[in-house]
Symmetry: C2
Subunit: 380 residues, 2 copies
């Protein structure tokens, strides 16, 4: 299979990145369109799907300074927007020496083919018929993008959460193409993780505006998606952090949860501060994300098992040639540090060079985004 | 204030409890109706409200063998149905010597006055206008029930979760009337606890059948209530327990979460086993509980702060004359053991005789119901 060439290649057009900034801008951002059908793990195909990607820094002449950054559930290819300190001053990476590439996941709503895209075969929007695209499907397609950019080998692949799933899958699917992989705050989803995703899914499905996924673009299931995001937020944060920040305070807008002003009228009282915060997070999210895309990525996340399709754990992991670093976060209860550590040790038992590092943080799962400087220190 | 007498008094009718059984039956179950208005902490009143209660065993001649058992969020006065091992063979209590009384919480749907009851002043169902009834309001009314039964002093008051809130509040509100209180798996709700309740509330409010609480009895917000219950279930259980029981197994009815049978069609795949379990729990719950009652009790739980209305922690807790035992559960993440312990120590610092015990269990918050024999051992 060959791929269509992207209209402009990063590092080829003479664009030179300036000194690292607080929020770096991509040197290139564009689409890569596969010129034929992508056969998916589930047995279906995507006809000529698009991968949207962003590039920061420039590829050197040897094309051996490429670093692939993989984003998490609701992220985008614009890694400068959500992980700026990774390659800011004192960052892990430098825009002088490294060429960072970040690819939007299939199923997402930030440029790659997803449920909101038109199926090139039927000419209609996929909607709820969008197929299950696995992490491995993503990684295979990302490999073709690298081919098109003339990148044979990645110096580093890294990501947190679903990004970490992709980073590890890269080391398995493309063993000769990865020098090092950093896998942060992830392991195959536990039963609690599956449970959290199931309830998020239900929150969206139960919104009467969802209409089985056939909602109108101007009337999406906003309340269901907001509730899904809020359920997820609980799992991204650590309880002590919530206590420190919000405690049992009334909502900062002056609501009265104790019902003294309104004589305890009604079943729904004034909000506590944590409730106001969660509602705010829900509102912010529905302005930037699509409900069907969210459902599709939840399924991608749920079904990820790197051993799937391989004979055994040893058969899966002994393929790996890269050096791996796993990072657990002390207060993460979605992917608890002990499960990340055990996962690392399982992989090491297959003869892989893999270390485990632990980030001490109060932030919970989100620490890899909330405390980037700490993460950088741990990885340097 | 005087109260109407109950039509039959336990321990007076000559009913003798038989030997302890697996699921003991009450020796008496009935209603106590306050014969005037109950002034609530929020400033409103309940006109002649009803407390439904059940009695197990018999009151002795001195009426000094009464034990009050306080139920949790969705429990009922029939403690024999949900906590049978507490007074079964080798239990903490004995139906030969003790007289157990359990009172249904206001706002509940198991017999005491709640949102589904008729307001005696207006002749109409309260519905969503039902006022906030605090834990302390409940405990004051329970005190009047004890008056009516001729019980001056309780040998023991005990309960888990919201039941524990009541047990502690008894020791504060009625200091001379409580000999010992056992407070299990509870402290004032943390920010994470408030967050979980907020999302449960939203799940119900977002059900189009909720209609602001004015739903038809034959068409209640079933899906919203089921989702609320499922969110709560996550907080009642410990993640390792879910892993042991459900892992990443497909739902036991044969669904296919990996989408191999249906070629990954659609955004909603077959369920994992944990999802099937949660859906089952949701379905079971909506057959036995009312959505407005659920909302009302969430608010009672949210707003509980034993120090409310007192000048300080010392002023609150130094009132206590009872011996207190606090029980934390090692795997509880809704009321983590360290927060129960810290709460116990805060109270002890006010000069109260209070000990802290920890139950080692994989069951999470639910352990006080799921591992009753272990709890009994810890308390004996």
């Amino acid at each position: 299979m060959t791929e269509s060439q992207v209209s402009a290649e990063p590092g080829q057009g003479g664009t030179v990145a300036g000194p690292a900034q607080a929020v770096p801008a991509p040197t290139y951002e564009g689409d890569f369109v596969l010129d034929e059908h992508l056969l998916l793990d589930c047995g279906r195909t995507l006809a000529g799907p698009t991968l949207h990607y962003a590039v920061y820094g420039r590829l050197n002449a040897a094309r051996d300074n490429a670093v692939l950054v993989c984003h998490a559930l609701s992220g985008s290819a614009r890694v400068g927007d959500w992980w700026p300190e990774i390659f800011g001053p004192n960052g892990l990476l430098s825009l002088e020496n490294d060429c960072l590439i970040c690819v939007n996941l299939f199923s997402s709503c930030y440029g790659s083919t997803g449920p909101g895209s038109v199926d090139r075969e039927t000419g209609e929007v996929y909607g709820p018929d969008f197929p299950l695209v696995s992490i491995r499907d993503n990684v295979r397609a990302q490999g073709r993008l690298m081919d098109s950019l003339g990148i044979r080998r990645l110096r580093l692949v890294l990501g947190g959460s679903i990004g970490g799933m992709q980073a590890l899958e890269w080391a398995i699917v493309h063993p000769e193409r990865v020098e090092r992989a950093v896998i942060i705050a992830v392991a195959p989803l536990s039963a609690m993780g599956l449970a959290l995703n199931h309830l998020q899914r239900k929150a969206i499905q139960q919104d009467p505006d969802w209409h089985g996924g056939y909602y109108l673009p101007q009337r999406p299931p906003r309340r269901g998606l907001a509730l899904a995001r809020q359920i997820a937020m609980l799992s991204y944060k650590a309880p002590p952090l919530f206590d420190d920040r919000f405690g049992r305070n009334p909502n900062r807008n002056g609501e009265d949860p104790l019902g003294l002003d309104d004589l305890g009228g009604g079943l729904i009282g004034g909000r506590f501060d944590i409730a106001g915060y969660l509602d705010h997070q829900g509102k912010r999210f529905i302005d930037r994300f699509d409900a069907n895309a969210y459902l599709a990525i939840l399924r991608t996340m749920d079904t990820w098992d790197p051993m799937h399709g391989h004979a055994s754990a040893t058969a899966t992991f002994s393929r790996i040639r890269a050096r791996l670093s796993f990072v657990g976060i002390s207060s993460d209860w979605l992917f608890p540090p002990e499960s990340v550590r055990n996962f690392a040790y399982t992989i090491r038992a297959a003869g892989v060079q893999a270390d485990y590092r632990e980030m001490t943080s109060e932030h919970g799962h989100d620490a890899f985004l909330a405390e980037q400087a700490e993460l950088v220190k741990l990885l340097q």
